[in-house]
C-alpha cells in the first residue's frame, strides 16, 4: 500500500450552539419596552387625541377596496360597480371605528368621496397610461388592458375639478361628493343642512363649468 498522508480535518467552529444566547443577549436587554405594559406609568393619561386624519383616510381607502373586492366576488365580474352604495357601506362599516370617533358623518363621507376620487382617478390614469404605452417598458409585463372608448375621462374631470375648487371650494367639495361619492343632491343638502334648491343651483353651475372645461358642450345633444 502506497502511504497516503491524510491530515486531520478540523471543521472547527462550525459549531453554533454557543451562540444562542449570543443572539439573545444582544437584543433582549433592550427589550425594556414590554415592562411598561405591566408596571411603568410615566405620566398621566391625556385625553384621547383625535385620530390622525390620514390614518382614517387610509382606513377608508382599504375598506373601500375590501368591499369592492367582496362585491366583485359575489357578483362575478361586474360591468359596473355602484360606487354610491360602496361609499355608504364604508360609512356604515367604519363610522364606529375608534379612528372615526372624532369626526361626524359629513366629514366621514367627504373623506370617503375623496378616497374614491383618488382611487378612481389613479386607476383611470394608470389605464390610460397603459393604453398609450408608458415611458418605459418592464419585462414580462407588457400585456395591455383595454379601456372603453368614448367615455368621460375621469382624469380630465379631476383636473377640471381642481381648477373649480380653486375658485369655488364649496362647489369643488359638492362636485366631489356628487361625482365621485355618488351622493345625490338631496343627500348633500341634508348633510350640509342646506336647501336642495341651493345645492342644486351650485351643482348646476359647477357642472356647466366642468362640461365647458372638458369641451363636452360641443357634442351633439
Amino acid at each position: 500500500m502506497v502511504p497516503i498522508r491524510r491530515q486531520c480535518k478540523m471543521r472547527l467552529w462550525q459549531r453554533s450552539q454557543a451562540s444562542i444566547f449570543g443572539h439573545g443577549q444582544r437584543r433582549y436587554p433592550a427589550n425594556f419596552f414590554e415592562l411598561r405594559d405591566g408596571w411603568v406609568v410615566t405620566s398621566a393619561k391625556s385625553a384621547g387625541m383625535a385620530a390622525a386624519p390620514d390614518a382614517l383616510f387610509s382606513l377608508v381607502y382599504q375598506e373601500l377596496r375590501r368591499i369592492a373586492r367582496s362585491q366583485r366576488r359575489a357578483a362575478g365580474s361586474p360591468v359596473t360597480l355602484d360606487t354610491t352604495a360602496l361609499v355608504h357601506e364604508v360609512y356604515l362599516k367604519l363610522h364606529a371605528a375608534p379612528q372615526a370617533a372624532s369626526i361626524d358623518r359629513v366629514h366621514f363621507l367627504s373623506l370617503a368621496a375623496r378616497a374614491m376620487r383618488q382611487i378612481l382617478v389613479d386607476h383611470a390614469r394608470a389605464r390610460s397610461r397603459l393604453k398609450r404605452g408608458g415611458p418605459f417598458t418592464i419585462t414580462g409585463l407588457d400585456e395591455q388592458i383595454g379601456v372603453a372608448a368614448d367615455m368621460i375621462d375621469l382624469v380630465a374631470v379631476d383636473d377640471a375639478l381642481r381648477r373649480l375648487a380653486q375658485v369655488d371650494p364649496r362647489a369643488g367639495q359638492l362636485v366631489e361628493w356628487r361625482i365621485f361619492g355618488g351622493l345625490e343632491v338631496a343627500d348633500i343638502a341634508r348633510l350640509l343642512n342646506l336647501t336642495e334648491r341651493t345645492v342644486f343651483r351650485d351643482w348646476r353651475r359647477a357642472r356647466a363649468f366642468l362640461v365647458h372645461q372638458l369641451g363636452l358642450d360641443e357634442a351633439p345633444a
Partner: protein, 987 residues
C-alpha cells in the same frame, strides 16, 4: 380665473339659467352691462348646461365602469397610486402581465431621493416555498452592485402578504428598440452587448443566474448605458428544485420561450449555461433583427422540446432581412460561429463562461482569430500541442502535483519490485488518465476539470487493469484517497470499496487494514458514522495485531475513533481516545512530525467543542508551529491551523484579531483547492462568522450562501456541515432582525439533524434554541416556550445540572415567560439560573451579566423594584468592568436600569443612566440603525419625567420617525414609543 370673477359669473349664470329661453338674452344684456368678456363666458356656461343631462349620465357611467374595472383588477393587483408598500409610495402603474403588476414608486419617507419600479407578484405565485426562498435570497440580490445591473433596492411582503421587489428605476429604451431607432452600427452593437456580458459574468461570479435574459430585460439609457433588469428574480419565483420541474407548468414560470435555453424549456437542470444561451439569442437578434428560433408555432412544451431536439438555429448570416441592421457578409464566418457556439443545444458545448464568449467577440473586434474556431483547427493539426493544452487546462495545480507524486511513488514501488511490466502498465495508465474526455465536445478544450480527469481514470480502472487485480486495487485506493483529498466523499467511498473487493483474492491483512482505515475516514467525512466506526474498529484490530498496542498507525486509528465520537457529540468518549493517540504519536515519532501535529490539532478541536478554550488554543499554536516547520507557509495544514487560531481568538472575544488568520487561510485554500472544496466552504463559513460577530452582516451573508451551495453540492443536503451553516445563517438573520428567515433556517438545520436520527445532538439543540428565539421575537410565545423547555430538558440530561449552557437556557425560558406576561415564573427561572452560576469559575462573564439584566427586568415586571434595582445595578457594574468593553451590552443594561429607575420614580438616576446609554449609542446608520432611536426614546421619557416636555417631545418624535422607518410602523418598539408620545401632556 379668479374667485371674484367666478362669483360674478356665478351670480349672472344663476339668474339667467332659471329664466326661460326667451327671457335670457334680455337678462344677459342687463346683467353683463356691456362687459362682452363676461357675457361670452356666461353664454358658454349656458350652452354647457344644455349638455348637463348627458354629462350626468356619462360621468356616472364612467365612474361605475372605472370602479368595476378597479374592483376586477382587485384580486391579483389591488395596488394603486398613493398606496404604501413597505417603505414605498406608489405613484402609478406602469405595466402588468403574467407575474403581476409593475408600479412606479418613490420612497415614502422622503429620506432618499429614490424612485423604484416595484414588482408586486400576483396571487398564486406566493406559495410558502416561494416566500421562504424570497426572504432568503433577496439580501444577496440586493448586493449585486454593478454599473450595468439595475439594483434590487428592496423587497419584502406587502400588507396583504404578497412579495414585492423594488428595482432601481431605469429610464431607458429596450435594447432592440434603442438600436433600431438610432441605427446603431455593428461595432457599437457588439460593444453594448459586451457590457451586457460583463454584467452577466459579474453575477455568475456571485453564483447568481439570471434565467430570463431577453432584449426587453436590457434597457439602454439615453446616454447609451446598458442596464439589466430582473437579475435573479426568475430564480426567486421559479421552481428551482432541479431536474424535477414539470414541463407542463411552463406557463407559470417566468421565462420567455424565444430566449430560454433548451434545458429550461425541457425541465432539465439550469446553470449559468442557460444565460449564455440567452445571450446568444440576444446577440442573434441584435445582429439580424430576427429571433434565433420561432417557437410561436409550437403550442405545447412537449412540442417545443421536440422541435429543439430536431432542429438547430440557422446561421445568423442566412437570416438577415432586407432591412437588416447588419449586412449578411459581415456576419459570415466568425460571428456565425460565435453566435451558434453560444446557442448549442447541449449546455456543455456552449462557451464555458460568459467571459469566454465576450473574449471571442473582442477578438473579433480586434481582428484576431476567435477561440471557438481556432482550437478545432489545432485539434486537427497538432495532437501534441493539444495534449499539452489539456495539461495546462487542468483546474488545480495542487492536483497535478499530487498526481505527479503519486505517479512517482507508484513507479518507484513498481521498480523496487523490479516488475518492469507493471511499471509500464502504471505509466500507461497514468498517461491515459490525462488523455481524457474528447476535447471536441468543448469549445477550446478548456472544459476539463480535475475531477473530469480523475473520473476518466476511475472509469477505465476495471477495463484497463482487469488482468491486474492487485494493481487495480491499489489504483482504486489511490484514486479514492485523491477524491477524499478533493472532498468528493461519495466517489472516494465507492473507489475504496472497489479496492477492497479487488483485494479479496490476494489478501494481505495489513494492506486491507490500511484501506479499511481510509474507507472509515471517507465515511466519517461523509457523516456516515456507523459505517465509519465499524471499519475503523476492523482496521484497529488488524493494526494492533501487527504492530502492537502502541504504534503510530494504531495512534492514527485511535484518533479517528476519537474524531468520530467527537462529531457525534460524545466528548467524554472522544477525549481519552485523542489524548492517547497524541501520546502514542509523540512516543513513537520524532518531532516535528505531521502526525503529531495532526493529533495536537484533533485534540484542540475537541477542546474547542468542549469550550476548553485555553487548552485548545495552546494545542493549536503548537500544531501550527510544527506544520510551519514542516511545510512552510503555503500548505493546507497551515491554512487549517490558521483557521483554528482564528476560531479560538474569536471564541475568546478577539474577533477583529481573528480575521487576519482566517483570510490568510482562505487565500491559501483558494490557491490550493478546487472551487467546490468543503474546506473552502468551511473557511468561508468561519470568515462569515467573524464578520457576523463584527456586525458586518451584509458581508457575511453572501459568504454563508456560497458555502452552503458548495456544501450541498458536494456533501449532500443532509450533511452535518450543511446543518451547521444553516444554523449560522439563522443566527445571521436573527441579527438582522429577520425573524422569519431566522426561523426558517433554524427549522432547516433542525430537519437535517432529525433526518440524521439525532434530534438531540448538541448542535440540533442549538438550532432548536435559535428557533425558539426567532419565534419569541415573532410573537409566537407559546411555541417558543415549548421548544426552549424541550432544549432545557435535553441539555439537563446531557450536561448535568451545573453547566453554563443549562443555566443560560433557563434564562432564555425566563425571557419567554416574562414576555408572555408571567413575570413570577420568569423570576424563578432566572434566579435558579443565577444560583447555578454562583461560585462557579469560568462562567462567561458577558453572558452572565446580560442574563442578570434580564433577571432585573423580570423582577421589575413582577413588582419587586428593590431587588430589580440591585440586580440591574450589579449587571451594569459587571458589564462596565468587562474588558474589552461591550458597549452594546452595557447600553442595553443601562437602558434597563433607566427603566427600572423611572418605575421607582428615581428620575435623577433614570436620566443619568439613559444619558450614558445614549452616549454609547450615537446616531447610527439612518437606513438600518434603530439602537440610537431606542436609547433616544428612553432618554426622552426620562426628560418627560423631569417635566422638560419640549425636549422630551422632540426626542420621542425623532425616535418615532426613525423607528417607523427602520423597524416599521407596526413593530412593538415603534408602537410603544407612539403610545408614550400620545400619553404625554400636549402629545
Amino acid at each position: 380665473m379668479d374667485t371674484q370673477r367666478w362669483q360674478r359669473l356665478a351670480t349672472i349664470f344663476d339668474e339667467v339659467i332659471e329664466a326661460t329661453d326667451d327671457a335670457r338674452a334680455a337678462l344677459l344684456d342687463r346683467l353683463c352691462a356691456g362687459d362682452m368678456e363676461v357675457r361670452r363666458e356666461v353664454e358658454a356656461l349656458i350652452i354647457a348646461d344644455a349638455a348637463a343631462n348627458r354629462f350626468d349620465r356619462d360621468v356616472d357611467a364612467a365612474r361605475n365602469l372605472v370602479a368595476a374595472d378597479w374592483a376586477c383588477s382587485d384580486d391579483s393587483e389591488s395596488t394603486h397610486a398613493g398606496e404604501r408598500i413597505g417603505p414605498w409610495r406608489v405613484l402609478h402603474e406602469v405595466g402588468r402581465g403574467g407575474m403581476g403588476v409593475v408600479l412606479l414608486a418613490e420612497r415614502a419617507d422622503g429620506q432618499f431621493e429614490k424612485r423604484a419600479a416595484l414588482k408586486l407578484i400576483k396571487r398564486g405565485m406566493d406559495s410558502d416555498a416561494v416566500l421562504a426562498r424570497f426572504l432568503r435570497e433577496r439580501q444577496i440580490l440586493a448586493h449585486l452592485e454593478h454599473p450595468h445591473i439595475a439594483r434590487l433596492l428592496d423587497g419584502g411582503l406587502a400588507a396583504d402578504g404578497r412579495p414585492y421587489f423594488a428595482m432601481e428605476h431605469v429610464d431607458g429604451q429596450p435594447l432592440l428598440r434603442y438600436c433600431t431607432v438610432r441605427s446603431i452600427k455593428l461595432e457599437d452593437r457588439i460593444s453594448l452587448f459586451l457590457d451586457i456580458c460583463a454584467a452577466v459574468q459579474f453575477a455568475h461570479g456571485r453564483l447568481i443566474v439570471h434565467r430570463d435574459l431577453k432584449p426587453s430585460n436590457v434597457l439602454v439609457t439615453a446616454g447609451g448605458s446598458v442596464k439589466l433588469l430582473d437579475f435573479g428574480i426568475a430564480k426567486l419565483l421559479g421552481d428551482d428544485t432541479g431536474g424535477n420541474t414539470q414541463t407542463g407548468d411552463l406557463r407559470d414560470r417566468p421565462l420567455t420561450p424565444a430566449y430560454a435555453a433548451p434545458e429550461q424549456l425541457c425541465g432539465e437542470p439550469v446553470t449559468t449555461a442557460a444565460d449564455i444561451y440567452a445571450l446568444g439569442a440576444i446577440l442573434f437578434e441584435l445582429l439580424t433583427g430576427q429571433r434565433a428560433r420561432d417557437l410561436s408555432e409550437s403550442p405545447t412544451p412537449e412540442d417545443i422540446c421536440k422541435l429543439l431536439e430536431i432542429t438547430s438555429p440557422p446561421l445568423p448570416s442566412k437570416c438577415t432581412a432586407i432591412d437588416a441592421p447588419v449586412p449578411a457578409r459581415r456576419l459570415r464566418g466568425d460571428l456565425d460561429t460565435i453566435v451558434l457556439t453560444a446557442l448549442k443545444r447541449e449546455p456543455e458545448r456552449r462557451y464555458p463562461t460568459v467571459d469566454a464568449l465576450a473574449a471571442d467577440l473582442r477578438r473579433y473586434l480586434d481582428g484576431q482569430p476567435i477561440a471557438a474556431r481556432r482550437d478545432s483547427a489545432l485539434y486537427r493539426t497538432s495532437k501534441f500541442v493539444q495534449r499539452h493544452r489539456l495539461g495546462v487546462a487542468l483546474a488545480s495545480l495542487a492536483l497535478l502535483g499530487l498526481l505527479a507524486t503519486t505517479a512517482f511513488a507508484l513507479w518507484e514501488a513498481a521498480r523496487a519490485r523490479t516488475q518492469a511490466r507493471q511499471a509500464e502498465t502504471v505509466t500507461a495508465f497514468l498517461i491515459d488518465t490525462f488523455r481524457v474526455a474528447d476535447p471536441k465536445s468543448a469549445p477550446g478544450g478548456v472544459k476539463l476539470s480535475a475531477i473530469d480527469v480523475l473520473d476518466a481514470g476511475a472509469r477505465r480502472l476495471d477495463a484497463q487493469l482487469s488482468d491486474e487485480p492487485e494493481l487495480g486495487s491499489r489504483f482504486a485506493a489511490v484514486l479514492g484517497a485523491i477524491y477524499l483529498e478533493l472532498g468528493q466523499d461519495d466517489r472516494a467511498i465507492a473507489l475504496l470499496e472497489r479496492s477492497l473487493e479487488l483485494q479479496h483474492t490476494t489478501a494481505d491483512d495489513s494492506t486491507k487494514a490500511d484501506i479499511f482505515a481510509q474507507l472509515a475516514r471517507a465515511q466519517y467525512e461523509k457523516g456516515d458514522y456507523t459505517a465509519a466506526e465499524k471499519n475503523v474498529d476492523l482496521a484497529l484490530t488488524t493494526h494492533r495485531a501487527r504492530t502492537g498496542a502502541s504504534s503510530a498507525i494504531v495512534a492514527s486509528d485511535l484518533a479517528l475513533q476519537g474524531e468520530i465520537a467527537r462529531r457525534q457529540g460524545d466528548f467524554k468518549k472522544a477525549e481519552p481516545l485523542l489524548q492517547q493517540a497524541l501520546a502514542m504519536s509523540q512516543a513513537s515519532l520524532k518531532a516535528p512530525h505531521a502526525k503529531i501535529a495532526a493529533n495536537l490539532n484533533e485534540l484542540a478541536v475537541l477542546y474547542s467543542d468542549m469550550h476548553r478554550l485555553d487548552e485548545g488554543a495552546a494545542l493549536t499554536e503548537q500544531a501550527l508551529t510544527m506544520f510551519r516547520a514542516l511545510y512552510g507557509e503555503n500548505h493546507l495544514d497551515v491554512a487549517e491551523n490558521l483557521i483554528n487560531l482564528g476560531s479560538f481568538r474569536m471564541q475568546s472575544g478577539n474577533v477583529a484579531e481573528a480575521l487576519p488568520p482566517l483570510q490568510q487561510a482562505i487565500a491559501i485554500y483558494r490557491r490550493l483547492l478546487p472551487a467546490d472544496h468543503p474546506l473552502l466552504a468551511t473557511a468561508l463559513v468561519n470568515d462569515a462568522r467573524a464578520l457576523d460577530r463584527l456586525a458586518r452582516y451584509r458581508e457575511a451573508e453572501p459568504l454563508y450562501l456560497q458555502a452552503l451551495a458548495m456544501q450541498r453540492r458536494v456533501l449532500g443536503e443532509q450533511h452535518p456541515d450543511v446543518a451547521a451553516t444553516l444554523n449560522n445563517l439563522a443566527i445571521l438573520h436573527l441579527h438582522l432582525d429577520d425573524f422569519v428567515g431566522g426561523a426558517d433556517y433554524s427549522r432547516q438545520a433542525l430537519a437535517v439533524w432529525v433526518t440524521q436520527g439525532k434530534p438531540e445532538h448538541p448542535f440540533a439543540l442549538g438550532s432548536k434554541a435559535n428557533l425558539s428565539v426567532a419565534l419569541r421575537e415573532s410573537g409566537e410565545l407559546g411555541e417558543s416556550e415549548r421548544l426552549i423547555r424541550e432544549v432545557l430538558a435535553a441539555r439537563r440530561q446531557q450536561l448535568g445540572g451545573k453547566h453554563f449552557l443549562v443555566s443560560f437556557t433557563m434564562d432564555q425560558l425566563g425571557i419567554v415567560l416574562r414576555l408572555a406576561g408571567r413575570p413570577a415564573e420568569a423570576v424563578v427561572q432566572h434566579r435558579l439560573a443565577q444560583a447555578m452560576r454562583e461560585g462557579v469559575k469560568g462562567m462567561p462573564a458577558l453572558e452572565s451579566a446580560a442574563a442578570q439584566a434580564h433577571y432585573a427586568l423580570a423582577l421589575g415586571a413582577s413588582g419587586d423594584l428593590t431587588e430589580a434595582r440591585i440586580q440591574v445595578d450589579n449587571a451594569v457594574n459587571a458589564l462596565a468592568a468587562i474588558k474589552p468593553a461591550n458597549s452594546e451590552q452595557l447600553a442595553n443594561a443601562l437602558l434597563a436600569q433607566a427603566r427600572i429607575a423611572l418605575a421607582r420614580n428615581d428620575v435623577a438616576s433614570a436620566c443619568a443612566a439613559a444619558k450614558q446609554a445614549l452616549e454609547l449609542r450615537p446616531p447610527d446608520d439612518p437606513k438600518t440603525g434603530w439602537r440610537h432611536a431606542e436609547a433616544l426614546a428612553v432618554h426622552g421619557e426620562c426628560l418627560a419625567a423631569c417635566k422638560e416636555l419640549a425636549p422630551a417631545h422632540g426626542e420621542l418624535e425623532s425616535a418615532l420617525t426613525d423607528l417607523q422607518r427602520v423597524r416599521g410602523a407596526d413593530h412593538w418598539m415603534t408602537t410603544q414609543v407612539r403610545q408614550t408620545l400620545r400619553a404625554m401632556p400636549g402629545g
